[in-house]
């Protein structure tokens, strides 16, 4: 039995640009792995390959042993893998509750016929989904905001809504694209606390992209460093911080 997520020899090219160049690493179940690197290092590209938004030019990604190429984009979450987006991709015309309910989509099966007529099964499934969604909204600390439209909420709150939407389907692996990006100091601390609870209380394995170094070092078990599409280092936060290649990539040649 391999790791929960295996990235093997992965390359992605956009025309002549090499966004990822033979990157390999694993995420073991139960770990928190951070993916860091300067802007344009290929972090978000890697996320998008894992969730089937982009195609790999070379190499494979295995989710729980299944090659991601054989999974359709909307089925990735059915393999226990959920994600958030760099600049928040919420459904802007909908309320917090409806957003989280969309995240619950895979937990219920009721189709359009059952929903329209409405069959008792669909109604029961719907109220169970609402219950799960409200619990998750409560977990991220937004129960007073449940009925509010997301577009009117501050960015920091929107990030929590997105987290709730990703978590409500109870994924085993959560991909977080800059969870601490663009939010205030206090909110960063609160987000770190919340993610620790996601890890311990919900038992979710996490792979996160982040620029905020204190945040990364505080939360992760392992750090993978990318630069210009290549993996330049991997190890514990302390090891990576001492690594000369990493220091050079971040600060330029000494």
């Amino acid at each position: 039995m391999g790791a929960l997520l295996e990235v093997k020899d992965l390359s992605v090219r956009f025309g002549g640009v090499v966004a990822l160049d033979r990157v390999s690493f694993d995420v073991e179940a139960g770990q928190v792995v951070a993916l860091i690197g300067p802007n344009g290092a290929g972090k978000t590209t890697l996320f998008n390959v894992i969730t089937r938004v982009y195609r790999a030019s070379h190499g494979t990604v295995l989710i729980d042993g299944n090659p991601v190429q054989s999974i359709r984009a909307h089925n990735v979450i059915r393999h226990g893998l959920a994600r958030t987006f760099q600049n928040v991709a919420l459904f802007r015309s909908m309320t917090v509750l409806d957003n989280v309910l969309v995240g619950d989509h895979v937990q219920t099966r009721s189709g359009w016929v059952q929903a329209s007529i409405p069959l008792p099964a669909a109604v029961t499934a719907e109220s169970a989904a609402r219950k799960r969604a409200l619990e998750m909204i409560d977990f991220v600390g937004l129960s007073t905001h449940a009925e509010r439209p997301v577009a009117a909420l501050p960015f920091g709150i929107q990030k929590r809504v997105e987290l709730a939407r990703a978590l409500v389907s109870r994924p085993r692996l959560l991909l977080l694209d800059e969870p601490a990006g663009g939010i205030s100091h206090e909110e960063v601390d609160a987000m770190a606390k919340l993610l620790r609870r996601v890890h311990t209380d919900l038992g979710v394995t996490m792979l996160l992209v982040e620029h905020h170094m204190a945040f990364v070092m505080g939360i992760s078990d392992r750090v993978v460093v990318l630069d210009f599409g290549k993996k330049i280092a991997e190890g514990s936060p302390a090891e990576v911080q001492r690594n000369p290649a990493v220091i050079e990539a971040y600060l330029g040649a000494a």
Binding site: A89, L90, F91, R92, M94, D98, W112, S116, P118, A122
Partner: protein, 362 residues
């Protein structure tokens, strides 16, 4: 003031509207009842378009084509194969729905602008497509449809209330009303549950919707199918209510009329299509009659309206709606109600953004 604070829940409003539409034909003429039946038919078609455009976010400029299809399926089955007309309505609806679903599959590959063009092309070719197989469709002569007499029971009940016998037009009105009620109820159920949420999610962001497990292609084609199902029903009823259809019954402007109704009423809402349909149906009629009778208007304006009434009045009203009520009439009513509510309840707490408790929920 207190009465506004304890405003009736929406169910009362729905009940009121249903009672109004049930009772309306008893106080208006048979001719007016037939006009209102057509407004309701338009409401059904606009609801279909609303599911496609408002909920799933795919633009169609050719929904009149699906109405034409429903109308001709029913008319041909009733006229040539001597089927009972009412039995043909569900057949027309289902067949049109399946065709709409199939049309939705290649549409997945089109960007929004090209989808608008493709559906528009569908609306443009429809009249000539209908004329071609003249044996089947009656060509330019069209098909005459025998309007059914009301059944004894309905006629007796109606007679007891109004004192006059029920006409075919009034009977057709009630058939239409029944269809509209059922289809609006189904749409309401669909929209607020899992499938409706999935469609709105797709409209707001396809990548995020797919990441949440929504089968984007599946729900987009589903929206097309359901939408065509509604348009097919509307077309079938439309043929019944006018009693005659020909290729010119379904011009391009019908598709535009549907879209105007959907936008003016309010996209992605359930009451929107009803309001939009009443607007889109009666505005051209009203403006054609009203504007030429106004002596204070310059002759150029009145003569223009006489010649191009619907287009001119649609244009003016559409611009006004877009300027002052971008979310349509329903949006206008909702924001008006929200403002009133805020005045009465007081402003939200500036620190937490928390609203004072709603008197309806406490």
């Amino acid at each position: 003031m207190q009465r506004i604070r304890t405003a009736p829940p929406r169910y009362w409003l729905v009940l009121l509207v249903v009672i109004f539409f049930l009772g309306f034909p008893t106080v208006i003429s048979s001719f007016l009842a037939s006009e209102w039946a057509q407004a309701l038919i338009l409401a059904i078609a606009i609801m279909g378009l609303n599911i496609l455009v408002g909920y799933s976010g795919q633009l169609s400029l050719g929904h009149g084509a699906f109405m034409a299809m429903g109308a001709y399926i029913s008319a041909i089955l009733a006229h040539r194969y001597k089927m009972d007309y009412l039995a043909t309505v569900p057949i027309a609806a289902v067949v049109t729905g399946v065709v709409g679903f199939l049309f939705g599959i290649p549409s997945l590959r089109l960007s929004p602008l090209y989808l608008a063009l493709a559906t528009f092309a569908l609306a443009v070719v429809t009249p000539s497509l209908i004329k071609r197989p003249a044996d089947l469709t009656g060509g330019v002569q069209g098909i005459l449809i025998v309007q059914p007499d009301p059944p004894q029971l309905a006629s007796d009940v109606f007679g007891a209330v109004t004192g006059t016998a029920m006409t075919s037009d009034q009977w057709i009105y009630y058939i239409t009303l029944a269809c509209a009620l059922i289809l609006f109820w189904l749409a309401w159920n669909l929209a607020r549950r899992r499938p409706g949420r999935a469609m709105r999610a797709i409209r707001d962001g396809e990548v995020a919707a797919a990441a949440s497990g929504v089968n984007v292609a599946g729900f987009k084609t589903l929206a097309f199918g359901i939408s065509a199902f509604y348009a097919g029903t509307a077309g079938s009823l439309f043929a019944l209510s006018t009693g005659f259809i020909s290729a010119d019954t379904f011009p391009v402007s019908l598709s535009i009329q549907l879209l105007v109704g959907a936008v003016v009423g309010g996209l992605a809402s359930i009451p929107g299509p009803l309001l939009g349909a009443i607007f889109a149906y009666f505005l051209p009629i009203g403006s054609n009659q009203w504007v030429p009778s106004q002596t204070w208007l310059p002759d150029q304006i009145t003569s223009t309206v006489k010649n191009a009434g619907p287009a001119v009045s649609y244009g003016v009203i559409l611009i006004l709606i877009m300027m002052f009520a971008p979310n349509g009439m329903v949006g206008l009513i909702r924001s008006g109600y929200a403002t009133l509510d805020r005045r009465l309840r007081g402003a939200p707490d500036p620190k937490t953004g928390q609203m004072p408790p709603d008197p309806q929920t406490v």
